[in-house]
């Protein structure tokens, strides 16, 4: 397995996956997957639809249990550490007409911190304000969640993840519903956050993310890692088959 070996990073990987296989019923989705992500890395996870990307994320988050193999997140089984992981889903799993403001949605990122009973504290609100301003969404705080555009919602969901003060940020197709300009600014933001967070991002846009990430993991049931410089025609061919070619689009 290739490693971004030139990086000076912490001793233990923040995410370690060893010989992981997973299937839904008869369908094998992940096969002997090994992956180790060091503190401070910015890893892009790419692969075709139904290649197992979302399943791998759900396993790392502890929403699914591995059938074979091991996962540890920050040295512990994933379910125990989900509070240290900020997760930004691809599709919001809530109804858009839910009577709730952006600020209240982001405040939910503070759940599980502090007292179990009662309401949020003023310290929570301060952190929420900071999270919203970090993603340039302070002006949206009072808006009902249903009135946001796709790109605005994406930022709000990122703020919700950041409000929990995570060590790892995991994003599933953060740019699926937004245009090119929004895409650039989301990845610029991620690059900034990478200064303090380990980031794992799923994306379909290989060429685009390779400008930003330090390493690309290609998943199509099995997983192969490449340093970003070597995502070439061969790797793409292996992953997607004949019909996809690498188009050079240096900016």
């Amino acid at each position: 397995m290739a490693r971004a070996s030139s990086r000076v990073v912490g001793a233990d990987p923040v995410i370690r996956i060893r010989d992981l296989s997973f299937s839904y019923g008869d369908t094998l989705v992940l096969e002997h997957v090994d992956l180790s992500i060091e503190r401070g890395e910015f890893v892009g996870l790419i692969g075709p639809n139904a290649g197992g990307k979302s399943t791998l994320l759900r396993l790392i988050l502890g929403l699914l249990d591995p059938q074979i193999g091991e996962i540890s997140v920050l040295g512990r089984p994933p379910g125990q550490m989900s509070r240290q992981v900020g997760y930004v889903p691809q599709f919001p799993s809530f109804p858009r007409d839910f009577p709730i403001s952006v600020e209240q949605v982001v405040t939910m990122g503070r759940l599980g911190i502090g007292s179990f009973l009662g309401w949020y504290r003023s310290a929570d609100r301060e952190i929420v304000r900071r999270a919203l301003s970090e993603v340039d969404a302070s002006d949206l705080a009072g808006r009902p969640i249903g009135t946001l555009s796709g790109g605005q919602l994406q930022r709000v969901l990122m703020a919700r993840a950041l409000a929990g003060d995570p060590e790892i940020l995991i994003l599933d197709e953060p740019t699926a519903n937004i245009d090119q300009r929004g895409e650039t600014s989301i990845f610029d933001l991620l690059a900034r956050l990478n200064a303090r967070l380990t980031i794992l991002v799923v994306s379909h846009d290989i060429a685009f993310i390779s400008d930003y990430v330090s390493r690309v993991a290609c998943l199509n049931r099995t997983l192969k890692c490449h340093p970003t410089t070597s995502v070439d025609g061969d790797a793409i061919h292996q992953l997607y088959g004949d019909h996809v070619r690498l188009i050079d689009h240096s900016h």
């Binding site: 997760y87 809530f94 109804p95 709730i100 939910m108 759940l111 599980g112």
Partner: protein, 282 residues
């Protein structure tokens, strides 16, 4: 209406009925809001109807039907909730089955209960005028349980209603709070059965909160407005039914239903007019 107000001063049973309606509206506002935004009205309907089994059994064994209703409601809430959590999507078949089985059990028990079985109609359609004064304390106690539970765990309830997956990732025990929410729905159903009976319960549980959702865009605001609307519907229903000697429960439901239709139409119209005005302003 005038006759009602003057009778209200004279007759203790009318005062009791009025207070029972007000106590029930707290449940319909606070829990009805969750039922509407979590879209579990069908589930609430299933719980309400299965309650007849508990009432019939209690009657047969000479116990308080109110107690039988409470036990049956909580049991069916836990059963439906557990099936939904374990099998994800198959709960609607089970709800339908429980709905019918509960009623069948209840009717068999009532048929075999010796003596006069006139209570069936008031179980089905409620009779707020027959609420014993002592039961008001029980209703107030249930209200207190509802409001305290929701206030203490407001964050968790909001989180599991809004986004279960995210709540789970934040360490919220989703299954526990989901079942607790369904138990609160069960308690509310029993509260409201006193007033409108188990067939009409679903209207009081959903309509005030649904009307509130047309105008208010926060959970707490919806609860408050729905509680006030519930109070207006039950009191107005009681008052309007008194003069012409109509059954109070159905009168309340028709008022709530009429208000809902009116509100749905006007809020649509208002939204469209606002959008047109906004579009013209540029």
């Amino acid at each position: 209406m005038g006759a009602f107000l003057s009778a209200l001063g004279d007759y203790a049973f009318l005062q009791t009925a009025l207070i029972a309606g007000l106590l029930a509206s707290v449940g319909c506002g606070v829990i009805g809001t969750f039922v509407v935004i979590k879209r579990i009205a069908f589930m609430a309907g299933g719980i309400a109807h299965s309650v007849l089994g508990g009432m019939g059994a209690a009657l047969y064994f000479g116990l308080d039907p109110f107690l039988g209703a409470l036990i049956a409601a909580i049991l069916s809430a836990l059963l439906i909730g557990a099936v939904r959590l374990a099998w994800k999507t198959q709960e609607d078949t089970l709800i339908g089955a429980l709905w019918a089985i509960g009623m069948a059990v209840g009717i068999l028990f009532i048929a075999k209960t010796p003596g006069y079985a006139a209570d069936l109609m008031s179980f089905l359609f409620g009779n707020i005028l027959l609420v014993p004064a002592g039961e008001l304390w029980l209703m107030a106690g249930l209200d207190l349980v509802l409001v305290l539970t929701v206030a203490l765990f407001y964050r968790q309830f909001l989180a599991i209603t809004f986004d279960e997956e995210f709540a789970r990732l934040r360490g919220v025990p989703v299954a526990f709070f989901y079942l607790l929410l369904l138990c609160l729905v069960a308690v509310t159903v029993v509260l409201l059965i006193q007033v409108v009976g188990l067939i009409l319960v679903i209207a009081l549980l959903t309509l005030p909160a649904a009307i509130a959702s047309h105008y208010v865009h926060s959970l707490g605001g919806m609860m408050l407005v729905a509680t006030l609307l519930g109070a207006v519907f039950t009191s107005l229903g009681l008052a309007l039914s008194y003069g012409p000697d109509l059954p109070a429960g159905p009168t309340m439901i028709l008022i709530a239903g009429g208000a809902y239709v009116l509100s749905a139409l006007t809020s649509r119209l208002l939204r469209r007019r606002m959008a047109t005005r906004r579009a013209r302003s540029v």
